[in-house]
Each structure stands twice: as structure tokens, then as C-alpha cells.
Symmetry: C2
Subunit: 356 residues, 2 copies
Amino acid sequence: MKPENTSLEITKATSSTIGKVDFDNLTFGKYYADHMMICDFIDGKWETPKILPYGPMQMEPSAKVFHYGQAVFEGMKAFKDKDGKVWLFRPEENFKRINKSSKRMAIPEFPEEYFFSALKTLLKLDKEWIKSGDGNSLYIRPFAIATEAGVSASPSNRYRFVIICCPAKAYYSSPVKVTIAQEYSRSADGGVGFAKAAGNYGAQFYPTNLAKDKGYQQIIWTDANTHEYLEEAGTMNIFFRIGDKLVTAPTNDRILDGVTRKSIIALAERENIEVEVRRVTVKEIVEAAENGSLKEIFGTGTAATVAQVSGFEFQDNYHELPEVENPYSMKFKKMLQDIQYNRAEDPFGWRYAVEV
Amino acid sequence: MKPENTSLEITKATSSTIGKVDFDNLTFGKYYADHMMICDFIDGKWETPKILPYGPMQMEPSAKVFHYGQAVFEGMKAFKDKDGKVWLFRPEENFKRINKSSKRMAIPEFPEEYFFSALKTLLKLDKEWIKSGDGNSLYIRPFAIATEAGVSASPSNRYRFVIICCPAKAYYSSPVKVTIAQEYSRSADGGVGFAKAAGNYGAQFYPTNLAKDKGYQQIIWTDANTHEYLEEAGTMNIFFRIGDKLVTAPTNDRILDGVTRKSIIALAERENIEVEVRRVTVKEIVEAAENGSLKEIFGTGTAATVAQVSGFEFQDNYHELPEVENPYSMKFKKMLQDIQYNRAEDPFGWRYAVEV
């Protein structure tokens, strides 16, 4: 753990809005913790990060983020254990990934010491917003946006890196029905699909709305070229359990290198569950569903942790998944949460203690 | 021309910043006309549009545009003729296209009467910002952004439609060198490439920076799957002149349906120049360059109008284009500008008079 950077400029909120929040009935993304971090990139360098009361920002209407989508983000969670200690889960992975995303979107990389000192300061100031108990967390959203005023289609010379936090309960608590993409697609070879670039998400809303109209909450995206290979679900990576084996697509320039995904792979290997990281065809999954060898499908992501899929639609046929005893999805979710909430050993060194 | 909508709420600027602008030495996108239009979509409907002094907007840090790139835009120009009359060029096309882009990005469509009454009001208020003379124009940037405060990855329930204007001179005045994409790509089948979605542009900045480092100002994108077919140049559609014939790629879900592109096709047909709208292979263009039949390459777009290409790079070979007499590019540029500046007949009905 790096020393706290004392050069942050801190302006504390004069009052807290925490009293307005019903933590038992949270709408994700509706309430924000009292403080945020803002750091501007001006004249070729990141200025001193500022911790400020959460609130609106002034933006030029011509700011490039509005016009050219030069924006990236991350999703992380802080967990509180039963003793009130606060933990992050593999935050270095998110830090590395936001800079990888930034590079692809021509955004300058953010300094590691700023990222971690801002995180620690925010979690200390807003520690009351982190609730203990299974599924409770403080969702942390670091993001970077192009702020230069100027409508010419070229990289911005100004950026703003922001961290905001909002209390969260587990997402998608009941199993989801999904549909397999046959017409629309999420990303191209040589494109930005591997990055958490803002535009990747907005581009999925319309096809997802069409899917929802048919009763499916999520789309499993396929390769844009043939629609024969299963890729990811837009906010989640996807695992298939065939017999006792797990299969998931390899990451590439179209697929996000999910932190939960790689944690599940590591946990599965520890449990001596075979994991095949290889291209997965729609055909084999349909066949496995038909012959009964497809036991589970689940999605993994920071927001969802592990989300069970109850069935999938392909070419107007709905394939209901069987109810299995002790599903892998729930086993891995519990293992992951036990590590996240400091209820289990952490042989991988994934937990990151935050002094609050 | 639709009657002016008198229900706009107008707040005039108390002073003008026009005195600060050196119209002979403009940096595109640096200065903005005194007024802008803002219209919010709240509770399922677009509110009354407001004309306001140009200035910053307050945005929630959690506004969805920053996180999910739910944003679209258009580019248009207003021209002033020698008698001081103001003209738009095919504005209905831009209106239709922004709604087509919005639909794909799950943004509610904007009402036609609001769009045109706002345009007319802005051009009337800021008529001094439109300068006559070849290449001078007022660039108009309508755009729509998701403004709901909320980091959950789902369509926003609030949007803002904005129109800002900035004085412009012709872009890319000298011929540009381009490179043909072999590694990166711009869009996928089934994706949002046909839309003026913000993220399509930011995603090109990094590969374009790499191209610039090698001395090429623009990339001609190829299909993401094989890189064998030439598509568009990101901010321009592309035409190839082989012998006396023009060839350009058909529009599809990866390629923007450019207003300048279709105007050039119509002008070429009027001039009895053969135009083939069909898939164009890299191979045939390289061969045409090698055997001397490739006479010209040019890009078309609202910002650039018509931009000559002086040569292209493919697989480390640079193909310089010949100097041709009376190039099509300049011929079409002149024809287009003569219509735009009301110096020629307008048999197509493309000019749209604005009462100022």
C-alpha cells in the first residue's frame, strides 16, 4: 500500500446527505457519497487532485466529451467487514485498466499515486457510506472525460479525471434471461471493445431495449463478422458450464479483460475445476443445451459480481437451463464475496486494506 | 420553410464577443457565436427550447453522457451571399440524420419544428457571425446528450439537445496524405458506424495520432473483418476517380450517409460523369495507382466540403497521386460552393433561405 499523498487539496462537505438515503431500498446510482475527486489535465500535466463536496460541474457546451465521446471509466467496490474494516478488491487491476482504456481513447494516463491517494481519502471521508453485510458495498466510479472547448474532431488538450462513489446492493439478484445477438453487434476487431470507453455502452442501449421488449434482460454479444462466436454481455463477461467444465471466451480487442472474470478463473483452478479459455460457438452451446450437458451460464462483472442466467434465446428458440444443485455460479459468488468481505483467507492477495 | 415557432424562450446576450474574433485567422471551434439553443427532455417530453447567451452548462458528474457516451451530433453550415442573404444547405438531411443517430443511441427524437425554429432564431440573432466570401461560413453544431444523474448502465431518462455555432473557414485547405487502415478499425457490422454517435469519433483519435506520427493526416478506414474494402475517412466519405469514372462505397450500417457525399453523386450524374456506388477494394485502388488509372482521391464532408488527397500509404508503400488538370474534386467543390453561396442555379432545391 502506497503512502497517502498529502498534496491533495481537500474541501470537506459542510453537511452530509447520508440521512436521505434508505440503504435497505437502494436504487443503484441514485445517491452519491458526500465527496468526489476532481483532477484536471491542463498544459500537458495533471494538476493537484481536489477532493470536493459532491456536486455539479461547469462544462463548456463545446467540451469534446459531448461531441466525440472521448471518455473512459472504471467500476470498483469498497467492502466493509464485520469489524468495520474497509477493503478494496484488486484495485491495481482497475487502475491499470483505466489507463489502458485511456491510451486507446487518446486520453493521457493518470498517475498511480493520485489514483490511490484519492481513493483512500474518499473512503476515509465517506466511510459511513460503506455498509457492512452481504451484497452491500460502496460502488466507486473513476472516469476521465475530454473537457477542451472545441468542436474540431481531434483529441482534446484538456481532460478531467473524476471519482464519485455511490452505495450499492447486489445487482441482478434473480437469474436473468438473455438473448444471443444475431443482428446487432458490440465491437469490431481493431476497435475499442476491450476498453471501458463510454461509447461502447451507449451503443448497446437500443439493441438491449429491443431485447427487453421480447423479455430478455441482457444480450450475449457475438462476433460482428459471423455472429457464430459468443463474446461478452456488455456489462459482464460470460461463462458456460458444460458438464463439470467451465468455458469462456479469451479476451481480445473486442472483449473486456474483466477483473471478476480472471478472479473466477483463478478460483476455478484452485477448486480443480477445468476451465477452457477458448472461442465458444453459439452452435456448441445450443447443442449442449439440447443434449443436457449445458448446466449453467453466468455473467461476471464488478457491478453484478456473478449473475446467474436462467435461459437463453437463439433464433426464436428459448433454451431454459436446468436447475442444478450447488451451482458453480453461487459457489464462486460466495467464494468471491468471502474474500471481498474478509470472511475467508485471501491466498491470492486480492484484498487491499484501506485505513479509515 | 416552416413558420417560426414563437414559443421559444429567448434570453438575449447583453453584449457580443464578436469583437474578439479575428475572422481572417480563425481556429475552427475556438470561438462561439453569442447565442445557443438548449432544450431538455424531462418526464417523457421535450420542453420549450431556450435561446440563451452562449456559456457553460451545469452537469452532474454522474450524467450518463460522461459514462456511457449516449450522445449524437450533426454538422451544418450557414452561408452568406454577396447580398447578405443567409442560406443553409439541405438542413432537412441533417435533421433527419440526427434523429436516425438518436434512435440508434436510444435517445428520443427531436421535434422538427423546434429544430428549425431554433436554427432560424439563432441565425437571425447571430447574423453578424456569418461572413460572406468563399470558404467562410457559420458552422452549426446540433447535439444531444444524456443528462440523467445515474451511473447504472441503462438509457438515460433525461436528455439535452443543444445547438451552438462557430465561425469557420474551409478546413484542410491543402491536399492531405492518407493511410489505409490495416490494424485498427472504425466500426462493426451491426454497430453504430452509420450514426453520428460521439464515441465513433473519439475511438479514431489514437489510430489517427499513430498515422500522423508517420506523416498521414487521415486514415481511410477499411472493413474490420478483412481490411480489404475501403469505407470512409472518419470525418469524410471517400471518392476514387479511376479514369473518368467515380467510385465510392455504398452506405451501410458502418458508413455515414454523408450529405456532401450524396450531393456530389447528384452533381456528377448531372455532369454525365459515371458514378459507381459499390464496394471498393484496396487491391483495385493500389493496382489503379500502379497502372496510372487512379487519377484522384477526395474526401467529402460538411466541415471539409471536398478535400483533395495527394497520395496514400498502404503496407509501407506510398502512392503519390498524379497532378491532374481540372480535377473533379475542385470542380465539385466549386459547384457545391456556388450553390451554397447562391452564385448558381439550384436545380436540386438544396438551398434553404433563412430570413435574417
